[in-house]
Each structure stands twice: as C-alpha cells, then as structure tokens.
C-alpha cells in the first residue's frame, strides 16, 4: 500500500539537531520530517533520546545545534508558549497532568491562548468520562483517564501537529488499545501526528512513516509498513 501522504507539503522539518546535557549527548545530529496529515512513528529503546527530541521541539531543552522549521517558519529560537500557540503541541511523557487542578481547569488551560472555550463540549463528546469527572481533581483520575485528559487538553490547543510521548506507558493492555484507537481516529480525521512509542508493533501498524532512533542517531527510516519487515527492526524491537 503506497503512502498517499508522501506528496503532501512538509509541516515539520528537523535538521541536524544536537541536544546535550552536560557531557551526555542525547541527540547527535538528527534529521526528521513530518508531512501534513501524516502519522510519523519515532521508536527506539529507553534512553535513545526520543523524549529529548520532543522536548527540543517544544523548546524546553536547549539545543546545541540544528534547525527546526514548522509550517514554513524557522522556529528554532521561539519560546515554548509561542510554539504551542503556533500549533506545535506535545502530550509529554507521563502526561503532565496538573494534579491539583480540576479536570475542567486542566482542559481550560489547554485552550489558554484560545479563550473561546466553546470547544470544551466537543472534547466532552469525544471523551465522555472527562465530562463525568469534570469537577474532580485531575490527580484522582486513573492512568487511562489521565491520558484521555492529556490528549483532550492538547486538542483544545488546536494543534497542527500533535506530538505524543509514549501515550501507552504504564497502562493496562485493554486501555492501551483504547488509546491507540484514539490515535487512529485522530489520524483518520486528518490530524498530523508524531508518535513516540516503545510499543513498536502497534506504532508501526498505525503509522505512515517511521524513524528508528538509537543512542541519539536515526539508524533507520522509511515507510512504516516496510520497517515492520526490516530484519533489523524485527530482531531488535519485534522479538525476531
């Protein structure tokens, strides 16, 4: 099945990105591209640098080198809030739920720079459990509910590109299926996504394009369907 998004215009372009924490080089010159409407999977072992990449994209870790283009603009030096306002939105690893605030306040903050607030009902329709729990403290939600809250909150920011950092982490298998179904739906509805996962099989099944990151270097990239049958990927991530 040929990837029908291959001719779409570029939305995100990363060029020679280097991120270093003291002496630890987390990313050593990464190139990556996401086209409009694509679901791109970024897979790799623990410590490979996946979260560092997303954090650099959000402007929350300093980059030593490289360039980030988003929607035609060079956003390399933009502060975090401006990137979010421009539509580059991340659901961070661990979900970054504000536990001391109510579910509804969390959602409202998702639309912080979009004060209309009319879209809340849309999110409640998509995630009915959030409506039921809207007055509760977000810290009291279960892991799966928190992940729905995190995604719903991110959607309220009107993303042009939604980055998800290991949305399935720490969830029960049944809940993981729900989360992947949400990701699939979003993609079907035209959302552009960059999905970081350790659940490699699932991620490659959903994705159009995929990248494999190993200790800060992209070692493989291509159509997700093809990578799924690549001997290196089979051996390292899909249990042979």
């Amino acid at each position: 099945m040929p990837d029908k998004t291959l001719t779409n215009p570029e939305l995100l372009g990363i060029h020679q990105l280097v991120v270093q924490y003291g002496h630890v080089k987390a990313l050593r010159g990464v190139d990556l591209q996401v086209r409009q409407g694509e679901l791109v999977a970024l897979v790799g072992a623990n410590g490979a640098g996946k979260s560092s990449l997303l954090m650099a994209l959000s402007g929350l870790v300093p980059m030593q080198q490289g360039q980030i283009r988003f929607g035609g603009a060079d956003i390399t030096h933009w502060p975090t809030h401006r990137r979010v306002q421009g539509g580059l939105v991340q659901v961070a690893e661990g979900r970054a739920i504000l536990k001391t605030l109510s579910v509804e306040d969390n959602l409202r903050l998702g639309g912080y720079h979009q004060p209309s607030g009319t879209d809340l009902q849309e999110i409640y329709q998509r995630f009915p459990i959030l409506k039921k729990r809207s007055r509760q403290l977000a810290g009291n939600l279960s892991g799966g509910e928190q992940q729905q809250l995190a995604i719903g909150r991110a959607l309220l920011a009107k993303p042009r590109l939604l980055m998800l950092d290991e949305p399935s982490m720490g969830l029960a298998p049944r809940i993981i299926q729900e989360i992947f179904a949400i990701v699939h739906d979003l993609h079907q509805q035209g959302m552009t996504l960059l999905l970081v996962e350790q659940n490699v099989r699932q991620a490659l099944k959903l994705a159009d394009q995929a990248y494999v990151l190993e200790t800060g270097v992209i070692t493989l990239q291509g159509a997700a369907q093809e990578l799924m049958h690549h001997p290196g990927v089979l051996a390292a991530y899909l249990g042979g």
């Binding site: 929350l60 975090t80 979010v84 991340q90 739920i97 504000l98 605030l101 409202r108 912080y112």
Partner: protein
C-alpha cells in the same frame, strides 16, 4: 472590660491583616517562582518610603499612595527582570536567589537611609489623627478601620484573581509545574514577571499600612517584618496562599495577646516561641499539606 477586649481584638486584626498581606506576597513568589525572595522586606520598606516621598511632595494622599504602591511593584518587577530571570535561565541553585535578594535589600536599605536619614519618620497626614468611629460604647480609631478594610479588600481581590480567573488558574498550574504549564502554551516567563510585580505591590501596601498604623517608618523596618513573613508562611504551610493569610493573622493575634497579658518586651519571643511549638507538633505548618512541586 468588654470594650478593652474589643479594642485588643481590633488591634490584633489590623496587625494580623498587615502580616497576612505581607506574607501573601512573600508566599506568592515562593509558590510560583519557587524562590525565597528575601527582598520582600526591602520592598515593604520601600513602599512606605515611596509614600513618604510623594506625600512630602504635597501630592494628595489618594494619588500619592497608589503611586507609591505602583512604584514598589515596578521595583519588584525590575528585581525579577535584572536578577531572578538570569538565575532562572542558569538554573541556579536555591541559595543564589536568596543571596542575590539579600543584596538588593541591603541596597534598598542604604538608599533609604542615605536619602531620608536613619531616624524614623512619619507620614505628613493629619487625616487620621485622633479621628474615630463610635459604635455604641466602642470607639474605633479611623486609621485602624481603614487599614483593616484595605488589607482584607486587597486579599479578597488577590484570592479572586488566583482562584477564579483564567490567569489565576494558569498561575496555579505554574505553581504545580512550570514545565507542564509551558507545554499548555502558558507564557510562563511573563507570568513570573507578573507575579513578582503583584507580590511587590502586596509588600508595598503592607509597608504603607504599617506606616499608617504606627505613624512611624524606618529604613530598617523590613528585617523584622521579613522574619514575621517567614514565620507566617511556615505556620501556614509553605507556598499555600490561604495558609499564609491565616498564619499572618495568627501571628497578629499572638503578638497582641503577648503585649496585653505579658509585656511588650516579650512580644516577639512569645510569638516565635509559639511558632516553635506549632512546628514541633505539625512540621508541615498549621494549615498546609506538604508542598510538592514537580520539575
């Protein structure tokens, strides 16, 4: 006897409400910026001297006092822009902002001393002299009533701002996690500046109210106030806004109690002794849960 008790309660309330106002600004910075701003006492003093300056320039009080408060807010903002912001960017360890803000306090104290002299001064306001409200057998000094109204009014406005507005909820988000807040598109740096500004305003108002209350201000008035502010926010539970207010009120009542039933020399010893006992019993403070902040 009853009038005397009522008078003491009023004293406690006005003193406590000033402490509460001061402590609220102090804890606001701690809760949101995550730093102990030791120049809060200096800003408190500065508010009083800015008011003195404008009053002595014969500005009417209703212009002079708000201007003094605004000036104090701007100095608080300046401290954030020139010092705290840099330390944040370098992710400096906690001691650095403390030492830096001790420095700014020394600077402010010396400036006040140089410009206005080391002796204590008083506001050229005859307005409050001896004027009082009479309610039945109760005589309420005008100044005290005004102080209580201003202090509580300001705290109510701050409470509304923090709990009910979009901005306040964003500030609460930052207090829990600046990183998570930034990922939601909240302009965290800008709100840090705003917080420093608001906190300085609260400190400045407290300084002016003390000036009105005791009819005396001094370049050195910031230091003892800072100790009380620290005591109030520890009592209230660090970083907890409501706790800071209650801690401040508690301290006011403790002091008036000590002055009334012991003697004024034992005032601070009594209230700090009480603080010590409270902390033995509840290390997290009277009202606070342990304040946890993630990265």
């Amino acid at each position: 006897m009853a009038t005397m008790l009522a008078q003491q309660l009023l004293n406690a309330l006005s003193l406590g409400s000033i402490y509460a106002l001061f402590a609220l600004g102090f804890t606001l910075v701690f809760g949101i910026l995550g730093v102990i701003n030791l120049s809060h006492g200096g800003l408190f003093m500065l508010g009083a001297y800015a008011a003195l300056f404008f009053l002595e320039a014969h500005w009417p009080a209703w212009i002079a006092l708000p201007t003094a408060i605004l000036v104090t807010g701007l100095i608080g903002l300046l401290i954030d822009l020139l010092i705290l912001k840099r330390l944040r960017r370098q992710q400096a360890p906690h001691l650095m902002p403390m030492i830096a803000t001790i420095g700014t306090t020394i600077l402010m104290t010396s400036l006040a001393q140089g410009l206005f002299g080391a002796e204590s001064r008083h506001f050229p306001l005859s307005f409050f002299d001896n004027a009082s409200l009479t309610l039945g057998s109760l005589t309420l000094p005008y100044a005290q009533v005004v102080i209580i109204l201003i202090a509580f009014g300001t705290m109510i406005v701050m409470g509304w701002l923090l709990k009910k507005t979009r901005l306040g909820i964003a500030l609460q988000a930052i207090a829990e996690s600046p990183r998570a807040a930034a990922l939601l598109g909240i302009p965290v740096e800008r709100l840090f500046h705003l917080t420093s500004f608001l906190a300085a305003i609260l400190g400045g108002i407290a300084g002016i109210l003390v000036g009105l209350s005791f009819n005396a201000i001094s370049p050195f008035m910031g230091q003892p106030m800072l100790h009380k502010g620290i005591a109030a926010i520890i009592l209230g539970g660090l970083g907890d806004m409501r706790g800071a207010v209650l801690g401040g009120l508690f301290l006011g009542f403790a002091e008036v109690l000590a002055v009334t039933y012991l003697s004024s020399e034992y005032r601070d010893a009594f209230s700090f002794g009480l603080l010590f006992l409270v902390l033995l019993w509840r290390p997290q403070g009277l009202f606070g849960a342990t304040h946890v902040r993630s990265a």
